[in-house]
């Protein structure tokens, strides 16, 4: 119990500091892609920029718009962070160790991922702002739509490994192959599908229509100021970092690696996935809401169903047993 609690605290600290680092990393990455330099003045090569940002946000006045639902408005930002962090509890850190080991880890992770929509909607509704409301509407629609391909893509490793335990999936991959590499046919497409759905669930470009800043100013965060905005902003990054971690656990073997399996491999893979996600983000333009739905329901969901079917068929061949 004490071990689990201290591990949980450690994971929260690690995830939050990784998120802070991710903020800096993304800004540096984007700057270099745009032939700029990026943050460079706060700390060595701008490493403390997130700290400076945080200090700035903390100083700022928190304004509650007139007519807003005060309770929901105040409650929503911390909740976004909590729900985003909750999924991190199930990530197996090294063989056999996670904050929460559960037989149905995949299900719970996806469940918490789906829950993240609720505070976003709360924020949008409570802001008493039309842009925020439109953003909330889009966020809810997008979240439930992309939950379906996300579950379907997650089903593929579950079926292949024969377990819903995240650690079990990783261990299966350690003794066989990583699902992103083999079996190629349900594995790799499922990985891509998972990435796409995860991008959509965490509102990253090209699926960031809930906060499309050129249309909806800032979506649900329009009315938020100061640290409340900081929470929502932080939650997005936590969501992406945790999502990348889960993606690497489910498809890239998690802590498994050529030498000395352990946490470092998980972090490295998470970093790679994170880089990929952000590279995509700083390269593409965003979809329109209706195109997003078309992509989801006409392409990704059927593809996911097909992949689930294929992986079931693959399992029947008995390749692994």
């Amino acid at each position: 119990m004490i071990f689990a609690a201290s591990l949980a605290a450690a994971v929260v600290i690690v995830v939050l500091s990784a998120t802070a680092l991710a903020l800096w990393y993304e800004r540096k990455l984007a700057a270099r892609m745009q032939t700029r330099i990026g943050p460079q003045f706060v700390g060595p090569i701008g490493l403390f920029q997130p700290v400076a940002d945080l200090l700035k946000l903390v100083q700022k006045e928190e304004i509650v718009p007139m007519g807003a639902d005060r309770v929901l408005f105040a409650l929503a930002p911390p909740l976004t962070v909590i729900f985003a962090l909750a999924a991190a509890a199930f990530v197996p850190l090294w063989p056999g160790v996670a904050v929460v080991r559960s037989d149905v880890g995949v299900l719970l992770v996806i469940g918490f991922g789906g829950l993240a929509m609720v505070p976003v909607w709360m924020a949008g509704w409570a802001s008493f702002n039309k842009y925020a409301l439109l953003g909330a509407m889009r966020a809810v629609a997008q979240s439930i739509s992309y939950g379906v391909p996300l579950v379907l893509a997650a089903m593929v490793p579950v079926i292949l490994a024969g377990t819903m335990d995240l650690d079990g999936i990783t261990q299966f991959q350690a003794t066989h192959h990583w699902f992103g590499l083999w079996p190629i046919i349900p594995g790799l497409p499922a990985f891509i599908l998972f990435l796409l759905a995860m991008l959509a669930e965490s509102n990253r470009i090209p699926f960031d229509i809930p906060e499309a800043e050129s249309e909806l100013v800032a979506g649900v965060t329009t009315e938020y100021t100061g640290m409340q905005f900081g929470f929502v902003y932080l939650a997005e990054y936590v969501h992406t970092v945790v999502g990348a971690a889960i993606g690497s656990v489910m498809f890239l073997g998690g802590w498994d690696g050529p030498f000395a399996p352990g946490l470092h491999w998980l972090l490295l893979k998470t970093l790679c996935l994170f880089t990929f996600i952000y590279w995509i983000r700083w390269t593409l333009v965003r979809l329109r809401a209706d195109q997003l739905m078309t992509l989801c329901w006409k392409w990704l969901v059927p593809a996911g169903l097909g992949l689930v079917f294929l992986s079931a068929a693959w399992n029947q061949t008995g390749w692994s047993r």
Partner: protein, 172 residues
């Protein structure tokens, strides 16, 4: 009667009361969500994480979303004027007491006859029972859901075709 159970039960109880008593529909929906989430806590304490996951995914995620959509689609301008009305107290009391009695009777009659849960639930056993023993019910349910989905789509289509196209709206 572990402390965990008491906390969860109190949570459920309070959330239910607030769900009923909230004058704002949005708050009622969110309290309902809280109530469903507390139920998931109960499942976890019963060593049924699968059910807890399903509860989170389907009830808190899915049902809540449906409610939210209902709220959003009925009132678009978002001016927070959505109010709920409670039924007259006496009628409400009678109905809820009757319902409580019915449910309690059912639950007690069940637990008295059935043996207590022996071992923690396993996903595999649930899967086996759903896809083996109860496959007919399972498949029938899926067909029913499919029919409901097709019906919903058809209904939505019909209303859409009947509505005047906004671009062609004529001057008053």
């Amino acid at each position: 009667m572990t402390p965990g159970f008491i906390i969860a039960a109190l949570l459920i109880f309070a959330a239910s009361i607030f769900t009923v008593r909230s004058s704002k529909l949005v708050h009622a929906v969110l309290w309902l969500g809280a109530m469903l989430a507390s139920t998931a806590v109960l499942f976890i304490q019963l060593d049924a994480p699968f059910l807890a996951g399903i509860q989170l995914l389907l009830y808190v995620g899915g049902v809540m979303t449906l409610m939210i959509f209902g709220v959003m689609l009925t009132k678009k301008s978002g001016d927070g004027e959505l109010r709920t009305e409670s039924a007259p107290a006496l009628r409400g009391l009678v109905i809820s007491l009757a319902l409580f009695g019915l449910l309690a009777g059912g639950i007690f009659s069940m637990t008295n006859g059935a043996p207590a849960l022996q071992k923690p639930e396993e996903v595999a056993s649930i899967a086996a029972s759903v896809l083996g023993e109860h496959w007919l019910a399972f498949e029938t349910l899926s067909v029913l859901l499919l029919a409901a989905m097709v019906g919903a789509i058809l209904l939505a289509r019909k209303r859409d075709a009947g509505a005047p196209e906004s671009g062609k709206a004529s001057p008053r």
